[in-house]
C-alpha cells in the first residue's frame, strides 16, 4: 500500500524519533510512505488561533500537492497535523468554504484525498500485522494516551469514541503489552502553552503523569509530538514544582509496535527521549 506522507515540522526536530520509528515500522508492515514533495507547515495552533481562513488554506496547499501523486490516502502521524489537515478536508466539504479556500491556492485542488492517522491505518490491518509480531512485550504495562487532537473535535476527527477511545489499546494489546485502565486518556497536556505558560503545562502534565502512575503504568504511549514533549521533557519541571519524581518514559506507539516487530531499540530512536526508556528492565534487553 502506498500513501502520501505528511511528516510535519515537529517530526524533523523535536519529534525526530517519531519520524524515525514511523518510517521503520511502515517498512516492516508493508506501507510505502511517499513524502509529499514541497509540503508546507500545517499552520498548527498559531494559524487557527489567529486566522481562520489561513488555517484552512495552509493544509489545503499540501493536500493539493498530494493530489498530484498516485495515492488515495494522506498519512499524518503527528496528531496536530492530522487534526489540521482533517479540519481542512472536512470543513471544505461545505461548498462556500471550499471555494473560498480554493481561490487562495496557486495550484488546483479537489479535496478528494482521505486523511488518515497511522493508528487507524495499523488497526485496520491488524490481522496482517499480528503474524509479524515476533517479540511481544508481555511484561510491559502501558497507559495509552490519546490527548486531544486525535479525537477532538469529533465532527472533524471522526476517529474512535472521543470519550472512551480504544484504538491504541487494541494495537498495544496486539503487541503483547498489558494496557492499564486509567483516568486521563483524553485529557489535554496544554500543548503549545509549554513555551509561553510552562507553569500551566506543568500543572496539566502533572495530573496526567499522576494518573498513569496510580494506574500502575510502566510507560505512557502517545501519538502526538506535542504531548510527547510536554510529558517527557517537562517531567523535570514537574519534579521541581510538585516535588514528585515520576520517571515515566513516554513512548510513541510506533516505537512500541517497532519493538514488538523485533526492530532493535536503537533503530527506533528510543535513546533520544529525555526520560530514559531503558529504566524499564524489559526494554533494556531490546
Amino acid at each position: 500500500m502506498k500513501v502520501a506522507y505528511f511528516p510535519g515540522c515537529s517530526l524533523h526536530s523535536t519529534g525526530i524519533e517519531f519520524d524515525i520509528s514511523v518510517r521503520e515500522v511502515c517498512k516492516a508492515v508493508g506501507i510505502e510512505l511517499e513524502e509529499i514533495e514541497g509540503w508546507i507547515c500545517c499552520g498548527a495552533t498559531s494559524a487557527h488561533a489567529t486566522n481562520h481562513l489561513l488555517s484552512l488554506a495552509m493544509p489545503a496547499y499540501s493536500l493539493a500537492l498530494a493530489e498530484r501523486m498516485d495515492v488515495e490516502d494522506v498519512v499524518a502521524p503527528c496528531a496536530a497535523c492530522f487534526n489540521r489537515l482533517k479540519h481542512t478536508a472536512v470543513l471544505c466539504q461545505d461548498k462556500a468554504t471550499f471555494e473560498k479556500v480554493r481561490e487562495l491556492l496557486p495550484i488546483p485542488w479537489e479535496n478528494r484525498l482521505r486523511i488518515r492517522n497511522l493508528l487507524d491505518l495499523f488497526v485496520g490491518m491488524l490481522e496482517e500485522i499480528k503474524p509479524k509480531i515476533t517479540k511481544p512485550l508481555s511484561d510491559l504495562k502501558l497507559a495509552s494516551y490519546y490527548g486531544c487532537l486525535l479525537l477532538r473535535p469529533p465532527h472533524i476527527c471522526q476517529f474512535d469514541d472521543p470519550e472512551n477511545p480504544t484504538t491504541m489499546d487494541e494495537l498495544l494489546r496486539a503487541c503483547g503489552a498489558q494496557v492499564v485502565d486509567w483516568t486521563h486518556k483524553t485529557e489535554c497536556c496544554g500543548a503549545n502553552l509549554t513555551i509561553p505558560r510552562s507553569d500551566l503545562v506543568v500543572e496539566l502534565t502533572y495530573r496526567i503523569l499522576k494518573s498513569a502512575k496510580t494506574a500502575g503504568a510502566d510507560a505512557i504511549v502517545t501519538a502526538c509530538p506535542f504531548c510527547h514533549l510536554n510529558l517527557d521533557a517537562r517531567q523535570a519541571d514537574v519534579h521541581r514544582v510538585k516535588g514528585e519524581i515520576f520517571n515515566i518514559p513516554i513512548l510513541y506507539f510506533t516505537q512500541v509496535l517497532g519493538l514488538a516487530l523485533g526492530i532493535p531499540a536503537k533503530k527506533l530512536g528510543l535513546r533520544r527521549h529525555l526520560v530514559d526508556p531503558f529504566l524499564i528492565p524489559t526494554l533494556r534487553r531490546r
Binding site: 508546507i40 498559531s46 494559524a47 489567529t50 488555517s55 477532538r152 465532527h155 470519550e163 509561553p196
Partner: protein, 179 residues
C-alpha cells in the same frame, strides 16, 4: 453596574469568521465543567459565551481567549453542538484585528513569531523560532537546561529545514490577512 444593551455586533462577527451561533448557548456550563484550563482563566468559558451572546466586548481583553489550549473538550461535549473552540479562535482573531492589548501578551507573541518563521521558510524551524521567542518575550533563561538536554539527544535540529514553497505560505498569509 453593567448597562445592558442588546448588541448583535460581536455575535455576528463571530458568525462571519467561524460560522458559530453563540446565541444558541443556554448556559448549562458544561464547557467550563470540561475545561482543563478553567482554573487559570479570568472569565470562564461559559461566561465567554454569555458575553459574546449579549455583545460585551470586554471578553476580547480576557485572559481566557489566549489561555485556551484548543483542546476542544468543550466542543466535543457541548449539548447544543456549538463549536466553542472555534468561537475562541474567532475571538482571538477579532482581538488581534482590533489591536486589543492581550492580557497574556506572550501567547499572541508566540503565535506571531511562529507564523513569521513559517512564512520565511515554509516550515517551522523550531530552534530559530524558540530562540527569537525567548529573546523577545524576555523569558531568556527558562527552559535552558531542557533545551540543552534536547539538543544533546538530537531533538533540536541545529539547521533549518525549509520548503521550496515558502513563497506560497507568504502569499496565503498576505491574501488571508487582507480579508
Amino acid at each position: 453596574m453593567l448597562d445592558l444593551v442588546a448588541d448583535d455586533t460581536l455575535a455576528n462577527q463571530i458568525k462571519e469568521i467561524c460560522g458559530e451561533n453563540v446565541k444558541k448557548c443556554y448556559q448549562c456550563g458544561k464547557c467550563t465543567a470540561s475545561c482543563p484550563l478553567a482554573f487559570a482563566m479570568d472569565v470562564k468559558p461559559n461566561q465567554v459565551m454569555r458575553m459574546a451572546q449579549i455583545g460585551l466586548r470586554d471578553v476580547l481583553s480576557s485572559s481566557t481567549i489566549w489561555i485556551c489550549a484548543s483542546c476542544a473538550s468543550c466542543t466535543a461535549r457541548c449539548p447544543l453542538e456549538i463549536r466553542i473552540s472555534y468561537v475562541m479562535d474567532a475571538l482571538r482573531e477579532i482581538a488581534l484585528k482590533e489591536n486589543i492589548p492581550p492580557k497574556e501578551p506572550r501567547i499572541p507573541l508566540f503565535h506571531k513569531i511562529f507564523c513569521r518563521w513559517v512564512g520565511w521558510l515554509g516550515k517551522l524551524y523550531e530552534l530559530g523560532f524558540i530562540m527569537e521567542y525567548k529573546l523577545r518575550s524576555g523569558q531568556w533563561f527558562n527552559d535552558i537546561l531542557m533545551g540543552i538536554k534536547m539538543f544533546i539527544n538530537g531533538k533540536l535540529n541545529p539547521f533549518p529545514t525549509t520548503s521550496p514553497n515558502s513563497e506560497v505560505v507568504r502569499q496565503l498569509m498576505e491574501k488571508t490577512s487582507q480579508r
